[in-house]
């Protein structure tokens, strides 16, 4: 038996499972998407129908904004926490990663407690300015919620990468006259690029598909997962729900694919 045959035999069970639980439902989804009164045009409706298009655009913007803000915050915090030893450091790390344990619904609930009609921020703002500040139910609330559950994952990835940096490379840069700012720009951040790409892609994908938080907040901004839910349950428009699902999947998958190829080249460049 050739080794190719052997490998093929070993992979067979995996292929069968993948086909049954992954490819088939996906194929069915694609077919259902085209089974409505408009047929395959339902896919076009994602872009032509204002309600769907706006939701797609809003979701992508929200996911991109979340990713960028998360990367910036997590990098600053991750670098600081990993590089400095101070009393309470491990407690801080535990606190920072605590949101990992919470489902989106709870995160939504916490956002309401923070920025809702009876929220903490509202009370403080009223005490200070006389105006009640409520943004839990707008895009701002969603953004905050998404940040809340994105930052912990990314911080952990960044901290792991920072730990693996070779301190001698930074010392070499400093010996050549590089101050703190130049060392970060020329040595530390370039070395973290693979981590940015990997964790950014996951962050983006998670934000694109997040449902629990949006559902709890029942925001005025309709994100795509909410629209799919509404089409499916309230309007019983299975075809449109399926088409939107495929659209959501394609955008997310494309983002992951692009990041993977970018990571490939950057990893090669970074040696």
């Amino acid at each position: 038996m050739s080794s190719r045959m052997f490998v093929a035999l070993c992979l067979a069970p995996l292929l069968i499972v993948a086909a049954a639980f992954f490819v088939l439902p996906l194929a069915r989804l694609v077919v259902v998407g085209a089974s409505g009164p408009d047929g395959a045009a339902a896919y076009l409706a994602i872009l032509t129908e204002p309600r769907y298009r706006e939701s797609l655009v809003a979701t992508v913007i929200l996911a991109v904004a979340t990713t960028v803000a998360t990367l910036i915050t997590a990098t600053i915090v991750g670098l600081f926490v990993q590089r400095h030893d101070f009393p309470g450091r491990s407690v801080l790390v535990a606190l920072l990663t605590f949101p990992l344990a919470l489902p989106g619904v709870v995160v939504g609930f916490m956002i309401i407690l923070l920025a809702g009609r009876q929220g903490l921020i509202g009370e403080v703002a009223r005490a200070l300015t006389g105006q009640r500040l409520v943004f839990a139910y707008a895009a701002g609330g969603l953004f905050l919620g998404y940040l809340y559950f994105s930052i912990p994952r990314v911080i952990l990835t960044i901290m792991a990468s920072v730990e693996k940096l070779d301190p001698q490379v930074e010392e070499a840069a400093r010996a050549l006259g590089a101050g703190a700012w130049a060392v970060h720009r020329d040595v530390i951040l370039p070395a973290l690029v693979p981590a940015f790409i990997a964790s950014g892609a996951i962050c983006f994908a998670t934000a694109m598909g997040a449902f629990g938080t949006a559902f709890t907040l029942a925001t005025r901004t309709d994100v795509l997962p909410m629209v799919i839910y509404t089409e499916f349950t309230l309007n019983a428009n299975f075809a449109m729900a399926a088409a939107l699902s495929v659209g959501l999947g394609i955008v997310t998958w494309a983002a992951l694919a692009v990041s993977r190829s970018a990571a490939g080249t950057s990893v090669a460049a970074a040696g």
Partner: protein, 350 residues
């Protein structure tokens, strides 16, 4: 790049180092290094060589009371990025996101040297270390020896005031190490920068150092030229650490040491209880035992090509090692006479 005496003179004053946790890994040390001199810090692992180098570089601070002076100016509190030192690390620490030229030109870029000028200086550096064809190569596509050269070119490109190297050859295989050692020697001579070179390899230290600082357990055991260190070690540690040494112990009667195999003349010996002396294997001659004042019996014989390495029993309290001519005809078990020329035996303070 041929003018001699570039760089600064250097002075360490009472530099000690205690790491958090309270262990003093470096006892207060004072060391003077002349302008343009190449000094090697030599010693066993953990003796504090890297710590000393990092204090000079400005990567760590000496304990309170210690001072580092460049050309007489106190730079103790000047951080490394302002000290203008060139550093070469054992791992080379090249920037993986830059090309070879990018690495070498980095210090010039930081100093805002215009692009055209930078390119010229980088090319000159690459020529100097013999890697002029590798300009746009990524550093992960280089061999160990090439990386080492890039690290060196990068360190000297900005004409540093001192060049500091921490075991730059240790990561390379033996034959490459020998070749690069010769190249380094030439480079240091032609650059003429004050250079501090850390190694635990005595061969490297001998080949490269104008002077060698032998260190042990956070203290300086001896400072001297290679031949002072080799022929006139200050103590037993230095004698045994550098090269092969026979340590002889026995009572002294005026200028004669009494040994199990006879007597050995020692210049400057004085009557005392027990003295410790050192003699190098190649300093001992093998002669006929008849009439010899010091004799022994050949215990083992190893032909090393360029010489014959003998161990001789019954001559001293423990077997001694003798490097004899590769043409010498002796058999294991033969009784032989041993001679040592005047001045080749050195009394040690243990």
């Amino acid at each position: 790049m041929t003018a001699n005496g570039k760089g600064v003179s250097l002075r360490l004053e009472n530099c000690a180092k205690t790491y958090p946790g309270g262990i003093q890994v470096l006892s207060p040390m004072t060391l003077e290094i002349a302008r343009g001199e190449t000094v090697v810090l030599l010693g066993p692992s953990g003796c504090g060589k890297t710590t000393t180098l990092r204090i000079i570089a400005g990567l760590i601070q000496p304990d309170h009371g210690g001072r580092v002076l460049f050309d007489g100016v106190d730079v103790t509190s000047v951080p490394i990025e302002k000290r203008n030192v060139g550093m070469v690390f054992q791992s080379y620490a090249l920037f993986p996101n830059m090309t070879v030229a990018g690495n070498i030109g980095y210090g010039l870029k930081i100093r805002h040297v215009p692009k055209a000028e930078r390119r010229k200086r980088v090319d000159a550096m690459m020529q100097l270390v013999g890697i002029d064809t590798l300009h746009d190569r990524r550093v992960d596509q280089l061999s160990g020896g090439q990386r080492q050269r890039v690290a060196l070119a990068r360190a000297v490109a900005c004409q540093p005031r001192v060049l500091l190297l921490d075991e730059p050859l240790t990561a390379l295989d033996a034959s490459l190490r020998d070749r690069l050692r010769t190249d380094l020697n030439q480079l240091f001579r032609s650059l003429g920068i004050t250079t501090i070179y850390v190694t635990h390899d005595q061969g490297e230290a001998m080949a490269l150092g104008d002077r060698i600082v032998v260190m042990t357990k956070g203290t300086i055991a001896q400072v001297g030229t290679p031949d002072e260190i080799y022929f006139r070690p200050a103590n037993r540690f230095v004698a045994e650490f550098i090269g092969a040494a026979n340590i002889l112990e026995g009572p002294l009667q005026s200028e004669v040491m009494l040994l199990p195999g006879g007597q050995l003349h020692i210049d400057g010996g004085r009557t005392g209880d027990t003295a410790v002396a050192m003699v190098r294997p190649e300093a001992i001659g093998i002669v006929s035992p008849d009439g010899a004042s010091w004799t022994g019996r050949i215990q083992t014989k190893i032909f090393l090509g360029d010489r014959l390495r003998l161990t001789v029993a019954e001559a001293a309290t423990s077997a001694i090692v003798v490097d004899a001519s590769n043409r010498l005809v002796v058999q294991v078990g033969d009784r032989v006479g041993l001679t040592v020329p005047n001045g080749s035996v050195r009394l040690l303070t243990s």
